[in-house]
């Protein structure tokens, strides 16, 4: 044995193992002030109270998912964030909804400006019976956001790229939006919402009518979009909430039962009601 001639270090050099990192968190650090802050929000349809004392903070550039059984108030709550409920007669609301520190229900609030800032995508894609280009350009035109044709074309292209649709439609921008598949139509609606550069994107079951491949594209898109936008998504699909969101909120009978990090929510929720719902033992 030539022990003396053996190198001192016979073990392989130590490999530094990086800390487990949540790949769903965007690389840029969001600000600590919540983008949306809701306090003691009650909402009524006539005499029926649909939301009870909801208080929640939504940080900037995260995806927050709302889950809960049908009729639990999650869509109603979503619509309070850009005052979409204003158009429903006999509704009233108390409490505060603050976006960037401003109460969006304060007298004098410019609701059109609010909805520019807080875009919305609905369950069923609803493209206008116009060309693909015109669908995306529509909001830019009516808001007179662009000053030249080239600027308009640039904004449309950017929105379509952000919605991961550009490569599929760039050669047929003048064809009818109605010729697109269901998944493409939904991404077109997302592009339409993105074109006016909102800061918050509300999504009300955006993939519930889509097949698994189209759903997967929407989910990938949500993942990419959160680098720039704060996204609030309502979904019936708990696996979807688990896949796309950073934070999950559980609603039941108009009450917010629990808000938690999505990992915690789906492995060890704090509330028994949440656990019963997530494990399918509700009722």
């Amino acid at each position: 044995m030539q022990l003396k001639s053996m190198p001192v270090q016979t073990m392989a050099p130590r490999v530094e193992v990086p800390e487990r990192r949540d790949t769903r968190v965007p690389s840029e650090t969001p600000s600590t002030q919540p983008k949306v802050s809701v306090r003691d929000l009650d909402f009524f349809y006539g005499r029926t109270q649909a939301l009870h004392a909801i208080s929640v903070d939504i940080p900037e550039r995260v995806v927050m998912a709302f889950i809960g059984p049908s009729g639990c108030g999650k869509s109603t709550f979503l619509r309070t964030l850009n005052r979409m409920n204003d158009v429903i007669p006999a509704t009233r609301l108390s409490g505060k909804v603050m976006i960037d520190g401003h109460d969006i229900y304060a007298p004098g609030t410019d609701v059109v400006a609010l909805r520019r800032k807080v875009g919305m995508v609905f369950q069923k894609s609803n493209p206008f019976p116009k060309s693909i280009f015109e669908n995306v350009a529509y909001g830019l035109r009516i808001n007179r956001i662009t000053s030249s044709k080239s600027e308009l074309a640039g904004r449309v292209e950017q929105a379509l790229q952000d919605a991961a649709l550009w490569n599929e439609v760039k050669d047929r921008l003048k064809t009818s939006a109605l010729s697109l598949s269901g998944g493409q139509q939904q991404r077109l609606c997302i592009a339409r919402a993105l074109a006016i550069r909102p800061e918050i994107l509300l999504m009300d079951e955006p993939a519930s009518a889509l097949d698994p491949i189209a759903t997967s594209k929407i989910e990938e898109l949500i993942f990419d979009l959160k680098k720039q936008y704060t996204i609030v998504i309502v979904t019936h699909n708990m696996q979807q909430a688990a896949r796309v969101s950073d934070t999950t909120a559980f609603f039941l009978l108009g009450k917010l039962i629990e808000v938690n990090a999505t990992e915690k929510m789906f492995t060890a929720p704090n509330e028994k009601l949440t656990e019963d719902y997530i494990t399918g033992r509700f009722g």
């Binding site: 688990a242 789906f266 492995t267 060890a268 656990e275 494990t279 399918g280 033992r281």
Partner: protein, 219 residues
Amino acid sequence: MDLHRHLDDELSSLRDRVLLLGGEAELALERAMYALSERDSEVAREVLEHDDRVDHLEVEIDRQCIDIIALRQPAARDLRFVISVAKMAPVLERIADHACNIARAAIDLNNEPELKLAFDLGKMADHALIMLRAALDAFTSSDAQSAREIIKSDSAINDLYNHIFHRLIELMVTEPATATRDARLLFVAKHLERIGDYVTDICELTVYMAEAAFIKHTN
């Protein structure tokens, strides 16, 4: 609610299977130690023959866990239960493997003159068996508190092992003619000590299942 009842049935069947595997591991250890103390090689061979059933059960549990995860997508306590079972099954299979190794040692030792020992290897085995039974009970009742107590009791097995280790080394030095048999017994003691460690793993999984707390490697 039929779908949820279906999941409950599957989880219940999984629980039954893992408890069956635990029972098999417990029986294998008990019989291997009997074969050693009573010098009954026939029983030792039965333990070895029976190990195929243990292996088969482990594979069945693996498949069942994968099926439940893929098809039922369990969450929260159901997910923790399935993950705990999936990690517990190989641990129980390893305990049965250690019992087989003890059975093999018994067959070898039974072919040699009996060695009168001044220490009680049986006491160590009894302790391991009591720990294993208690760990399976704690798992069945999701009793994290009991699981934590069992983990603490592993130190008694380690103490017994250290004591036996030193006695056997002394014996090897003072009576070199018994060295081969001493070495076999040393392996038996090591197998029992490892079983204590595996029981600790089971208890850690029970704590995770019951409380979603990771206590492994936290001393």
